[in-house]
Structure formats: C-alpha cells, structure tokens
C-alpha cells in the first residue's frame, strides 16, 4: 500500500464522512474542552459527562476539520465511553503511540484506532490526529484535577 492509501484507509474516510457522536451537544453538567491546531486553525470541541463512579458516560464532539482530525475524534468517541479516567488516559497514550510510530500496531488490540498508523509517515498530520484526543485530555483534567 502506498503511504497515501495507508493514511487514508477506508475506515478513516468512512468515519470522516459520517462521524459518530458529532454535533453540538452542550448537555450540562458536561465537561467541555476545545482543541486548536495552531498550524492550520482547525478547532474541535469535546463534551464529556461522567457517571457517579467517575467513568465516562457520554462523549461527543463538534467542529470542522480534515478527514484525519474528524475521523480520529469520531473513533475516540466510540472507544472512550465507559472508561475510567485512568483508562481514558491510557487510551490517549495508546493512540499517540500509534500515530507517532512508537507502538507496534495490532488491529486485534486497538481495533479501528490501528487504522491511524499511517499518520506516522506524515509527521505534520500528527497534530490533526491528536486534536480531539487532546481536548479529551483537557476535559479529564477539568473533571479530575491533579491532586
């Protein structure tokens, strides 16, 4: 597969065309965070509500952006639901490792997230892929400030 086709795998293009959990959903008491990619100006907003036990109950995002940022955020919303804060932080780290090339990519382990391994050949797009994920990180920080 050439690098472009690896970057724009079918699953990525599908998510970009029809993102999940997308659109403004300001349901209080949701935690809300924004991500801005200074190199392109793309912005993404993420809303998260937490269950009483601290796990992520509902997560959605809004914003316009490239196929990479949109599909990455879409996949994120599918993966992060039900996770504990630590679990979510671990997931963010996993995803970062996938797009930067620090992780062996195992489809069984990572599911759709593995499709983003093609990003590693385009270092300039790492920020796109991480945009929504960084916003989730922010929202987690707000909900569970470091002691």
């Amino acid at each position: 597969m050439n690098p472009l086709d690896e970057l724009y795998q079918q699953v990525i293009l599908e998510h970009a065309r029809r993102p999940q959990n997308h659109g403004p959903q300001p349901v209080p008491p949701a935690f809300h965070a924004e991500g801005v990619n200074p190199s392109c100006g793309d912005e993404i907003e993420v809303w998260v509500t937490f269950a009483d036990d601290g796990t992520i109950q509902k997560i959605s995002f809004d914003g316009q952006g490239c196929a990479i940022s949109q599909s990455a955020a879409s996949v994120m919303t599918g993966k992060a639901g039900g996770l504990s804060p630590e679990g979510a932080r671990g997931l963010i780290a996993n995803f970062h490792d996938i797009v930067t090339g620090s992780a062996e990519v195992d489809f069984d382990q990572f599911g759709e997230m593995a499709a983003f391994a093609g990003v590693r050949q385009f270092p300039q797009r790492v920020k796109c892929a991480m945009l929504g994920w960084r916003a989730l990180e922010q929202a987690l920080k707000q909900a569970h400030p470091a002691p």
């Binding site: 100006g41 793309d42 952006g65």
Partner: protein
Amino acid sequence: MNFPSPDWAAVRAQFPILTQVQDNGEPLLYFDSAASSQKPQVVIEALTRFYEHDNANVHRGFYELSARATEHYEAARGRVAHFIGAEDSEIVFTRGTTEAINLVAFAWCRKNLRPGDVILLTELEHHSNLVPWQLAAERHGATLRFVTVLGDDGSLDEAAVPGLLTEEVKLFAFPHISNSLGTITPAEDWCALARNRGIITLVDGAQSVGHIPVNVKELGCDFLAFSGHKICGPTGIGALYGTAQALADMPPFHGGGEMIESVQYERSTYREAPARFEAGTPPIAGAIGLAAACDYLAALGMEAIAAHDEILTARLVDTLNRIDGVRAIGPQGKRGALSSFIMDGVHPHDLVTFASGRGLALRGGHHCTQPLMRKLKLPGTARASLYFYNTEEEIDRLGEILTDTRRYFA
C-alpha cells in the same frame, strides 16, 4: 509590451531544486512560492563565494578581508535600495517582513503612538501585519480599525477608506498584495490620501516586491517591508524601507554593537538610520544573497516577470475553475500570482496531503490569515501560488492531480 521576454525554460533551468524527483518518484511541482520561493544557482553561489573568499565581520575592521566584507555588505544595501527605487540610507536589513514590521511597531509607535490613537489595517492582513499592531496598540493604549473585506473575491470596501482615515489615525498599514486571496490593493492612492492627511503608511510588500515592479517613490509610502526568501533570496534576510524622515522619527529598538555612537556605562548615543536599527553583527551573507537575488530579478526584468506571472496565473485560475467541485477564490480580474480554492467535501489539509503524494506542493490552511478565513466562513483553503519558473505544463498537471483528488475523497 516593449520589454524583452526571457527564455523562461532556460531561466527555470537555473533553479537546481526544480529538477528534483520526490521520494515517491514524482517530479516536484512547486506551487508554494508565496510561502517561500526557490533559489537560482547565482544566489546560492553568492553565498558560497562570500564564505569562501570574503567572510569577515563588517564595519569595525581595518584589514583587507573586513574592508571587503564591509564593502560587499554596504554595496548590497545599495543594490537592494536600487531595486525598489530607494536611497541606500533608506534600507534597514531585517530578518524578513515580519521583523521589519515589528521594528516599526516598536520603535515608531514608541515615539508616535498615544492613548486614543488609531492604527488602520485591512481585514486581509497576514498575521505578521496584524499581531505586531495588536501588541503595539496594547502597549500604547491605541486601537485598531479595519478596512472591511466585502466577500471571498477579496475585494475591500475602498469607498470607506477616506472616511476611515480620520484624525485619530496615526498609521495605515496594509498589504500591497494579499497572500491568501491575491487581492491587489490601490496602494498608490491610499498612500497619497494618507500622506495628504499626515498619516504614516506601511505597505506590506511581502507578496508584491519581486512579483511586480515596485518603486517606493512612485508608491509614496513611508515604510515598505519585504522578505528575501520570497524573491529568490536566502532565508533570514529582508528589508525595511523607510523615508529618511520616517526613519529619523524612530528611536533605537534593539541595542548593541554597530548601532551606537558613543557608549558610557550609564547611557549611550546612537547613530543615524540605517545603522541605528542594525544592532549586532548583521546577516552579512544574507544581505549579499538578497542583493544577488535583486540583481537577478532586475536582469530578467520586473515587467517581464509580472507579465509572465499574469499569464500563468490566468491559466491557473482557469484550470481550477474547470475542475468539477472546485472553486477558485479571490479577485476576478488582476490579482497576485496565486489562487486560493476550495474543493467540495474535501478539507484543504486532505487535499494538499493527497496532492503531495503526486509531487504537487500546495499550501492548505489559513495562510496566516485566520481572522479573514473566519470572517469568510472558510475552514481554510488550499492555495496554489507561482513564480516565473513555473510552466504551463505544470499547471495542466496540477489540474489533473486535483481532478484525481476529488475522485479519491468523494
């Protein structure tokens, strides 16, 4: 047209990088000259020659090498000045357009901007001709006003300009050519209008100098800023033109060697412009490389370059508009040597990434004009910009690649 037209194919051959094949085997199709131009052999050689034969620090040395370096450096100032119709002493070497604008925003504003004063800009500004004024306004209690953009054809509300140039306006800064839409502003008229009212003008010439003939005396501006790297020169060099009067009206900015007259531990006196504004060891090789670039462009002929730019740009816009789902943005008529465009359903970043896979170098995003993009409700654009070394065949190939791009993502 009564100027000789160079053999453009031969000219292109003077740019070593343009023969490059990309990693993926595709030949390089370079359409990002508005961000930075490529360099002809003669400019690269000027740098090499300097370092191999003439390198020494300037101004304070009495030995042969330093005298020669100084001579070359000051001659470079003269050659750059000549290129835009200025006097030698009206050229301050800077890192580029951005530093030139910041120099004025710090030094000129420090002396001349008071609380309640207004700086007039346009809504077209590149961040480099916007953020320095935001910071200056904050420092001095002034405010910014803007000439409105009327639509994504990049037209400005020119009729409003006389009314906007009120008494509180102390400085009017605007781009000669917009880098994201290609709009050409009526710079001469605006400079005349402002000068009549005692308002200082700064023209952001980053996209005009080296593309169209620019003569600062005909333009009638007080300041003009431009970058070497966009006009076949090295990175890290550019110039601020200022009239003798405007430069004299600026206190020192950076302090250090070269800009002083007499230094005591507690206080110092300073030299006149341009030395006053060139603290420390200057980018000597850069200045010499920029002069080589100016000479190179002058030898090709700025009229010839502008005419060739125009032909290529027309073909570019036409090519873009023929592609299904693509819309060229910017002025209908005369414009800078570039076109922003959008492709239905394809984000600019995906577009340029895909295009890059075919060897095509485009820029995608806000082009350092975030507020303009926001105002026009664009999530950024893709931009193809060109220079005299581009060819009609390259433009045709660009059209093919964009057609493929649409197909890929649709």
